[in-house]
């Protein structure tokens, strides 16, 4: 936001927010609002997608080139840094909006492509011939570009229904004016003026909103529990400790539309009677923290956070707590311990947090996506929200697509969409047209979905039925080149590192489980006679051990830790068997099982491989073919990379 004094503040507070119904027919008000929504502009606007993923793809350099271009050519134009629109695969995305025209979205605008695009757009109002255009975004009463498809008709966006991500990538995340102009904070003002706290709980319960962080507990019911508690202090916490590797929707929401989160939290706090709120956010998300801090400051200036908000007597304050890098702190009771300055270890339940949570006071904790749904439910009503989705899972869900998929990024789809639609219709299928193997959903607590289950409709129950779970919504796609035993091992080593150590089943069980998986994926050690027996015992007990960990662990981390193993065992038993019986990794991933051979025909005896080999397993004399001593070989692949004659094969 510009540093000049906010000229619209009084207007927004008095004319827009106090009139939360939005029925005003006053033409002047609408004109002002369309200026703030950037619908009526006097100078061109250049939007640069500058979320973490955009910056990773080079948006920072793009931004610099844009700035110097404007300066060199003496052009008056505004630059707005937006969040990520969700199509990470084609970042950096740059949008250009000329006065009176629809907004045009260009993909893959790396620094070298900026000048030709700006030259032709800003200097001659023409679309450059060879640039790749993602689509145009409709601006009311603006002229459209010929022969350019609309962005919302793009195959990636067309099947989506964006409620949480509505503004992400479109608006200036750190401009409260634009958020309010787009009906933001009206739900909050409406809530505190029109409804009693318990009414809000009722509306949310009726809407069918369920926690988007994993478990899927009905949000309204949770709020009611806290609402009915009588205490001098209650707390509201937003869990933004998005630790699931493969999930980044919370980051994107905060980076792209932080005010939506704040509004949702403010409504939640009012509904349960809390005056203090915390956002517990990962320290690994510096940009999200920065934008959230700015947004909170702006909301304070507008009197939306503070004491006696809009004269209603409602108090609300919000604090940011940075996480310190412990996965277990995503568990709600561990998170509360961490806020209290202790080790992030879970507490046993009951008492539940709604009775005795943070500092032993009634506490409600929800995640970013859950809170981000709240304002539109209040704005449009419970029925509007529950008209989307399936019988028991209402609304939409944001999924983060990554792995071996053509279009990686964020998608928000109505509950009930099939996974096949997400992967193949929206995201364009598997990268390099390889064969699909599985999609891992729900991170280290979730499971795999295979070809045969691709047509299930996504909701909380259907995913549990096939041995997976919603989790936070990370979808990691795997193709034929991925080894499922290796994936299970990866998750187990993650969990084993992150287990807090409080309860034995999780601390020791995951360690043993990892050991079993490691023995499955390694070669027999020469001279170790007990190894084969231990390995066999491990294979026999793996499933039983999983169930014990599941049944006896204290918190959600341990209870769900064996899921990746159980799920891969269920769907990919053949892969386990070939690791166990043949000591062979069908996908050729497990390093310890790789056997390297030198092709006698191709080897020229250059000795490069023998020099590179860290364990001296390659023997041979100069100018004659070399050989690999398999007993010594550790399968590091150094020789394979070093060979200039493609003489080394993996068998």
């Amino acid at each position: 936001m510009s540093t000049v004094k906010n000229q619209y503040k009084e207007f927004l507070i008095n004319e827009v927010l106090r009139d939360y119904s939005g029925n005003s027919k006053d033409k002047q008000i609408h004109e002002k609002i369309s200026v703030m929504k950037h619908e009526v502009i006097s100078e061109p606007i250049i939007y640069v997608g500058a979320g973490t993923c955009g910056l990773g793809a080079g948006a920072g350099k793009t931004l610099e080139v844009v700035k110097s271009f404007l300066k060199d050519n003496n052009i008056n134009a505004r630059i707005i840094e937006t969040g990520c629109i969700g199509l990470c695969a084609v970042e950096p995305i740059v949008d250009i909006q000329l006065p009176g025209y629809n907004r045009l979205s260009f993909q893959e605008v790396t620094a070298d492509k900026v000048v030709p695009i700006l030259n032709s757009m800003l200097l001659s109002n023409k679309i450059p011939d060879d640039s790749i255009i993602l689509g145009q975004i409709e601006i009311p009463n603006a002229e459209k570009w010929n022969k350019i498809a609309y962005l919302n008709e793009h195959p990636f966006f067309a099947p989506q229904k964006r409620l949480v991500l509505k503004n992400v990538g479109i608006i200036d995340p750190v401009d409260i004016n634009e958020y309010i102009a787009r009906d933001g904070y009206k739900s909050y003002i409406k809530a505190i003026n029109l409804y009693k706290p318990i009414d809000i709980c009722d509306i949310i319960e009726k809407s069918g909103l369920r926690g988007r962080g994993g478990g899927g507990f009905p949000t309204g019911r949770k709020w009611k529990f806290a609402n009915s508690e009588v205490n001098d202090q209650k707390y509201l916490i937003c869990n933004a400790d998005e630790g699931d590797p493969g999930a980044f929707m919370d980051r994107a929401v905060i980076e792209g539309d932080p005010h939506r989160l704040i509004e949702g939290m403010a409504i939640g706090a009012y509904a349960i009677g809390a005056t203090k709120a915390y956002v517990y956010i990962r320290a690994e998300y510096p940009l999200a923290i920065e934008r959230l801090e700015i947004a909170i400051k702006q909301a304070k200036e507008f009197g939306l956070i503070g004491k006696n908000i809009f004269g209603t007597g409602v108090n609300f304050e919000i604090k940011i707590k940075k996480g310190a890098g412990a996965f277990v702190c995503g568990e709600e009771t561990a998170l509360m311990n961490s806020i209290e300055g202790k080790r992030g270890m879970p507490r046993s339940r009951p008492p539940f947090p709604t009775t005795s949570g943070l500092f032993n006071k009634p506490t409600v904790i929800n995640n970013v996506e859950t809170f981000s749904n709240v304002s539109s439910i209040i704005y449009h009503g419970a029925d509007w929200f529950s008209s989307t989705g399936t019988q028991n899972s209402k609304g939409t869900k944001v999924f983060a697509l990554s792995g071996k998929i053509k279009l990686t990024g964020l998608v928000e789809i109505p509950m009930g969409t099939t996974i096949r639609q997400i992967l193949f219709d929206i995201a364009g299928g598997i990268k390099n047209d390889k064969k699909f193997k599985a999609v891992q959903i729900g991170g280290p607590s979730g499971g795999c979905i295979t070809e045969q289950n691709l047509d299930i409709q996504i909701d909380y129950e259907s995913l549990i039925k096939v041995g997976a779970m919603m989790g936070s919504g990370g979808l990691v796609v795997m193709d034929e080149d991925n080894c499922m035993v290796d994936v299970a091992k990866f998750f187990m080593s993650f969990i084993q590192k992150e287990s807090c150590g409080k309860c034995i089943p999780c601390r020791e069980g995951t360690k043993r489980l990892l050991e079993i998986l490691e023995s499955i994926t390694s070669k027999p050690k020469p001279g170790d006679n007990t190894e084969a027996l231990d390995r066999f015992k491990g294979v026999m007990q793996i499933e039983k051990l999983c169930n014990v960990i599941k049944d006896t662990s204290l918190c959600g981390l341990g209870q769900t830790a064996p899921n990746p193993v159980l799920s891969t065992l269920k769907w990919f038993k053949d892969e386990y068997e070939s690791h166990v019986f043949d000591r062979h990794c069908p996908a050729g991933v497990c390093q310890n099982l790789k056997v390297y051979k030198i092709d006698v025909e191709k080897c020229t005896g250059c000795t490069v491989c023998a020099k590179k080999c860290p364990v001296g397993a390659i023997i041979g004399t100069r100018k004659s073919p070399h050989f690999i001593n398999e007993d010594k070989c550790i399968g590091c692949g150094a020789c394979y990379e070093a060979c200039n004659f493609e003489a080394i094969r993996i068998v």
Binding site: G58, P245, A283, A324, G325, G341, A400, G403, V476, E498
Partner: protein, 155 residues
Amino acid sequence: MKTEIIDILQKYPAGAKENLIPILQDIQGNEGFLSKGSVIEVGNYLSMPTSKIFGVATFYNQFRFSPLGKFHIQVCRGTACHVLGSLTVLETIEKYVGVKAGSTSRDGIFSIEEVACMGACGLAPVISVNGNFHAKVNSESIKEILDSYRKQAEL
């Protein structure tokens, strides 16, 4: 006592134990790591035994007890990065720098850290050097990236 630590401590009320983690984060942000001396100072200020503070600090992955290299390399080991080969990337970096993840090279130029997920899964595999992201890296491109940092360090 160093003035910087006093400045940091004075932002928080004395004896308020719930501020322990933010204080440690601030100190690490300022000094790059948690030194024994600073932990003792924190203990005095919050009236907490040093052992308790170390207990909390060692629990969290974020806190370090030795200084970082001039260029701190964070290698993402999240799921998406893993399926796209982040292990090979990590091994290449370890070979290049000459130390394992979690330590600093002898010349003090590089330090390596494994992190769980940096939230840029769409661009996997990802590494970050002093906060600058490098996307879609592989064992080839990583060498060029590190070479450029080494050159900067030698200037």
